[in-house]
Symmetry: C2
Subunit: 376 residues, 2 copies
């Protein structure tokens, strides 16, 4: 059941007043209501120190103004219970977040821009993330991976950033499939500026989401907390290129904490931009993937999308049994040898060798005449 207008407006206010993902704000809204919380803040009945932070912003915050600011760019506010709410985000409520940095609660609403129907967003999805300063190799791989995952029916989710994120979105768009970008700042601030065109393409057929209120800047700490939404929206996260301490490793950690699949695409060990992925791949629960087939195999229900076993070219030698292999190894390349000589070199009995040579001859592998046998 959708939440009512008063509570929706209170949540819009809270999306501006509290930092995105603030655990206390998320819990208070979910357990009580944004209406009660905003009311308490407005009355100045604070009690706990945390609420005092929020008071700094509440005076200047107006739900109607924020809604208008969003509407100006064609954005709306969606809440849990709405048709187009991605229910998988509610898994974030299960995380046990402690420590000094209490960020990462289940969002109580999101700003959305685009036309992707809610049902599509609740279906199969994969996050493809990585370094902003990607290499040509990384962008190539991310693009191919995204395109093929999209073609196999997976919605590609990423962060709209330069490098791997952009390559992933573009790969999905190249397959004419909807893709989802989650921003760290406000929905009206398409960031980074150089990706404005790309983000408009994403909006045209897919979705751009933001947890922070319109007008909010994409700050460093908001990127880290935004990453949890990318991880939570997706059944699994693939990291394509990441230096040590890259933000995309943070997305991978969220995915792991949420019991989502974590995958990594390896690269040269000499590349600084693969070092973070390799560090990730050394963790036992992280899978190495080299193509979309392997990604989908990991994500799909057991047995549904087994990737074909990879195999190199097989030779006629491979198809022989061990004795015939030994025999073939002993047949000279150019100068014919007698059956007895070949048998001795191969270390096989003459009777057996005679029969096998006939059979290898029939297969076109050896040829024989009165001077002896040699390879065909």
């Amino acid at each position: 059941m959708p939440i009512d207008t008063a509570e929706r407006d209170a949540r819009i206010i809270m999306s501006r007043v509290a930092e995105p993902g603030d655990v206390d704000a998320c819990r208070l809204v979910h357990e009580h209501s944004a209406t009660a919380l905003v009311d308490r803040l407005r009355r100045g009945r604070l009690g706990v120190s945390k609420l005092a932070d929020w008071v700094e912003r509440i005076g200047s915050t107006n739900a109607g103004a924020l809604r208008d600011q969003a509407a100006a760019v064609g954005a709306r506010y969606v809440c849990p219970g709405d048709d187009d709410w991605p229910q998988q985000l509610d898994d974030l409520a299960r995380l046990d977040l402690c420590g000094a940095d209490r960020r990462g609660g289940a969002p109580f609403g999101l700003w959305a821009r685009g036309s992707l129907p809610g049902a599509a967003l609740r279906g199969r999805s994969v996050a493809i993330v990585g370094s902003r300063s990607a290499t040509a190799y990384g962008e190539h791989v991310a693009g191919d991976l995204a395109m093929e995952c999209a073609e196999r029916g997976y919605v590609v989710v990423s962060g709209g950033a330069y490098g791997i994120d952009a390559a992933a979105h573009r790969g999905s768009l190249a397959a004419n499939k909807a893709t989802v970008a989650v921003l760290a700042g406000g929905i009206d601030r398409l960031y980074p500026a150089g990706n404005t065109g790309l983000l408009h393409q994403i909006i045209a057929g897919g979705l751009v989401l933001a947890e922070a209120a319109p007008g909010c800047a994409p700050s460093k700490s908001r990127f880290l907390v935004r990453n949890r939404l990318i991880a939570a929206l997706s059944e699994g996260t693939v990291v394509v290129e990441a230096a040590l301490r890259s933000g995309s490793l943070n997305t991978a950690r969220w995915a792991r904490d949420l019991n989502r699949w974590v995958m990594g695409v390896p690269g040269p060990v000499t590349s600084r931009l693969s070092a973070g992925v390799h560090e990730l791949l050394r963790q036992p629960e992280v899978s190495l993937v080299t193509d979309a087939g392997e990604v989908v195999e990991q994500l799909a229900p057991v047995g549904e999308a087994l990737a074909p076993a990879k195999s190199g070219p097989t030779s006629s030698w491979d198809a022989l049994d061990a004795r015939s292999q030994r025999l073939l190894d002993a047949v000279p390349v150019s100068r014919p040898a007698s059956l007895t000589s070949i048998a001795r070199v191969a270390g096989l009995q003459c009777d057996d060798v005679a029969g096998r040579l006939q059979s290898l001859c029939a297969d076109g592998l050896v040829m024989g005449d009165e001077t002896g046998w040699r390879l065909a």
Copy 2:
């Protein structure tokens, strides 16, 4: 206790009569004796079909002649019980080998060329193997890895082939350390011809080993069975570059079957020559390694050689607590802002912000005057 001369001569004969690693030959020699087996073959009391194969070669085989052939190149025959016998090879006797291709028994002797003392060969050791048609990347990585493993006291074992094998041997030699090459053919046939110089360098300070008798050609099937010796000699096997179906994956399988560590060095997923390694790395028991520190960490007794955790450059931002990070994110780059304005942007209480700004100022991260605060 070393075995006696008669038995040693009989084993030398069997090294020519049976194919290297023939399971039946290995078991019959170990369980009975080579003397009894040669005697039976010479008398023509065959009984089983397998012995009939061996009869093809026994007539022309003479222990003294083989010993002379080996001595001509400075090679000797070593057997289990000898001081310089690598006891770890006896682990091969524990393998349960069945199926059509019964190859891979524990060797009853080896031809050896070089000066590496036996004790050194029974110490710490690592196999570094890979594709013959390696890329510059693979050879670079294999050489570095071998050099650093050698410097950390590990004997590098490989197959003396072109590509990764040669790079591994060269890396070890560059560290002035002994390295071991295991040949697929006879000890007097340094193969491949293009590596003759390298193999002579290996012999000078290390060891070249061969299971097949002097004069034997390095055939395809002998390469596969030779691989088990590389795996068995080493505490672990590292595959650097390998196409799908590469012979070095066969070495990795022997290592796994022997309960040795199996490691792989990743590369670009676009490289055919890393596809085999990546397939290997998708197996749960195989570890991804990117440098010698990680190889040694895997091989050394638990807790003895922990590789330092890899970390990227840390910034002053990383060292701050979450609230100060948020605050720093809210301080303008160039145009100074007031404390109240910064507090509102950061969503933090004014009192707290005042104290934190002073502290960030003391750390040299922000600067303030009567016009307000900005980043330093």
